[in-house]
């Protein structure tokens, strides 16, 4: 078949599709109008005939290519096929049910799946954290190896028991500001910990150790100089969410890094892709934990009028809940 006959025969069909895809060379109507039109078409699932038409279109493209029709025609068909392909294979997600399913099942499951990395991450973080606290009780000067003297002085004024306003030296009006700061800072650190794990896991190791030593340094120092009564009640509330999230960010980072170091029977690229998909899936939950931690820290931990015992109980309670969540949630549907 000569090209002109081919074109003559199917031009109407192509024009219909082009109209549907909004790539018609003969533009008509304003762009917003077209956009609306297209949205309606998309909402009506493109019509029942779309899959069939799409296959026919693919067939036309193959024919046009194998018959060496002019590049202009081939390109026009290619463009239609590319757009249709994108439309056809667009994955539809139902946000609400996906989110629900994620927190009642997927998140805990994905963390359990990676329990080795979670364990490694926890050992590195809590090891350096507790190690630092303990050693500071015997060698208090060691704190200056990880924290500068000025920062330490700031910390001391924040948690000075003789000062009225305990916590990070603020009144209730600044709660929201601090909430913003915690989200901005802590969640950012978590995401960076995850991303830097890509560099063979080194990034995760560094961030975990560094954070463990610094946080442990502050805690150990304030304990040593006798500020326990203000510091520990303040941090206990958000400790579970925040420290847990740090550990999980590290674990997700390890998963990325290790997939390149030891890809097993896959190619390194393939291995990275597969692991990255699972790791970023875990990070949704981790980011949520950071935000919850920020909320608790800004609005609960900062209330200085609540007795220490209640604060400790809430803190411990949250740790227990978190552990229960990760150990038990989503098990019943473990075999999908």
């Amino acid at each position: 078949m000569k090209q002109s006959d081919f074109e003559k025969k199917y031009l109407g069909f192509w024009e219909d599709i082009e109209k549907l895809l909004d790539i018609s060379p003969v533009a008509s109507g304003s762009s917003t109008e077209k956009r609306k039109q297209r949205k309606n078409l998309l909402r009506s699932d493109l019509g029942e005939t779309f899959p069939e038409n799409y296959r026919l279109l693919c067939h036309h493209l193959s024919l046009a290519r194998s018959r060496h029709y002019s590049p202009l025609l081939v390109e026009r068909l290619e463009q239609m096929v590319i757009r249709s392909h994108q439309l056809f294979y667009k994955r539809k997600t139902h946000l609400l049910s996906t989110v629900l399913r994620y927190f009642t099942f997927d998140f805990a499951r994905s963390v359990r799946n990676e329990w080795r990395w979670v364990l490694l991450s926890a050992i590195l973080f809590f090891g350096s954290f507790i190690g630092m606290i303990v050693s500071l009780q015997f060698y208090p000067d060691m704190v200056y190896t990880v924290i500068s003297a000025e920062q330490l002085a700031d910390m001391e004024t924040m948690y000075d028991p003789t000062v009225d306003k305990i916590g990070r030296n603020r009144d209730s009006a600044t709660d929201f500001q601090m909430f913003g700061y915690y989200i901005f800072n802590n969640t950012g650190i978590g995401l960076k910990t995850f991303a830097s794990g890509l560099v063979f896991g080194i990034g995760s190791v560094i961030t975990l150790l560094f954070n463990g030593l610094v946080i442990g340094g502050v805690a150990g120092h304030l304990t040593y100089i006798g500020y326990s009564s203000t510091f520990w009640p303040f941090v206990s509330g958000h400790s579970a969410m925040e420290l847990g999230a740090i550990v999980l960010s590290g674990a997700a980072g390890f998963k990325l890094g290790f997939s390149i170091i030891s890809p097993g029977r896959k190619s390194r690229l393939r291995s990275l892709r597969d692991s990255a998909r699972e790791a970023v899936f875990m990070m949704y939950g981790v980011a949520t934990m950071f935000i919850v931690a920020a909320f608790i820290e800004a609005y609960w931990s900062s209330i200085s009028t609540i007795p220490a015992m209640i604060k400790y109980s809430v803190g411990i309670g949250l740790w227990v809940l978190l552990l229960i969540y990760f150990v038990f949630v989503g098990r019943s549907r473990a075999t999908r």
């Binding site: 000569k2 090209q3 002109s4 006959d5 790539i23 060379p25 799409y54 296959r55 693919c58 493209l61 193959s62 290519r65 194998s66 060496h68 029709y69 002019s70 590049p71 202009l72 390109e75 026009r76 290619e78 463009q79 096929v81 590319i82 392909h85 994108q86 294979y89 667009k90 994955r91 997600t93 009006a173 600044t174 929201f176 500001q177 601090m178 909430f179 913003g180 700061y181 989200i183 901005f184 969640t187 950012g188 995401l191 960076k192 995850f194 991303a195 830097s196 890509l198 560099v199 990034g203 990325l256 690229l269 990275l272 892709r273 990255a276 998909r277 970023v280 899936f281 990070m283 949704y284």
Partner: protein, 230 residues
């Protein structure tokens, strides 16, 4: 049909059995797109800081949350909801797609944009730059992990329709490649000057044993014949 020239086409086979050609975008257009996006973000921050500056501490909180959201999710939101195009990418006519040519979803976009942190190391996308040069699809590390590519959005071709003329049959035989060359020549009439078109046509003079001069008009007439017009 596709010659094995060095080019930036990436072939993807669809389940329907046809090959799609993705025209990959290289370092330069992507950098420009990034710069445009950065400028937009900076403009947004300036406006935001003026607005939130008037709201005291609460405003500062809003500002910090906004910075966090915009820094991490500005590209994600646009890529997923706007056919793979941030405003910067749109202005350069490029878009992000999955490696198989399908539109990018939340998880891929999230991944490639979180891993931006690593690509950005040590300064201004040093790692990403090297990664893009080292693989054949111009992917930075985030793209590799998420299996995404940045491609030119195929726009309506610059080629013009072949001008209508009464078809003639060439007095010499043309093989397939030569036929295609003539058709392509005819499709480019809109892009080339008249003089250049005549000049190109003259190259074919030796083909005609009867010493007829070849010219643009004749060549276009042949092209009309080749695509089946009468």
């Amino acid at each position: 049909m596709q010659s094995k020239l060095l080019d930036s086409l990436s072939t993807v086979q669809t389940p329907e059995g046809v090959d799609l050609y993705l025209r990959l975008a290289g370092v330069w257009p992507r950098s420009v797109a990034w710069i445009i996006d950065s400028l937009i973000r900076i403009a947004v921050y300036i406006v935001l800081s003026i607005v939130t500056g008037m709201m005291g501490d609460i405003g500062a909180g809003f500002m910090l949350i906004s910075i966090f959201l915009i820094e991490w999710f500005y590209p994600v939101v646009f890529e997923v909801l706007n056919d793979g195009m941030t405003p910067g990418k749109k202005s350069l006519g490029i878009q992000v797609l999955n490696g198989d040519g399908t539109p990018i979803g939340w998880s891929s976009s999230m991944l490639r944009n979180i891993l931006r942190t690593v690509d950005f190391l040590p300064l201004f996308y040093g790692v990403g730059f090297i990664s893009m040069l080292l693989n054949d699809r111009f992917q930075r590390l985030g793209d590799l992990a998420a299996d995404t590519v940045v491609v030119y959005r195929n726009d309506i071709s610059r080629l013009s329709d072949i001008p209508h003329q009464d078809a003639i049959k060439p007095v010499f035989d043309l093989n397939l490649k030569e036929q295609q060359a003539i058709i392509r020549y005819a499709e480019r009439t809109g892009q080339l000057s008249n003089e250049r078109l005549e000049e190109l046509a003259e190259i074919l003079d030796p083909l005609d044993q009867h010493q007829h001069k070849m010219n643009k008009k004749k060549l276009l007439a042949i092209a009309n014949g080749l695509i089946g017009r009468v």
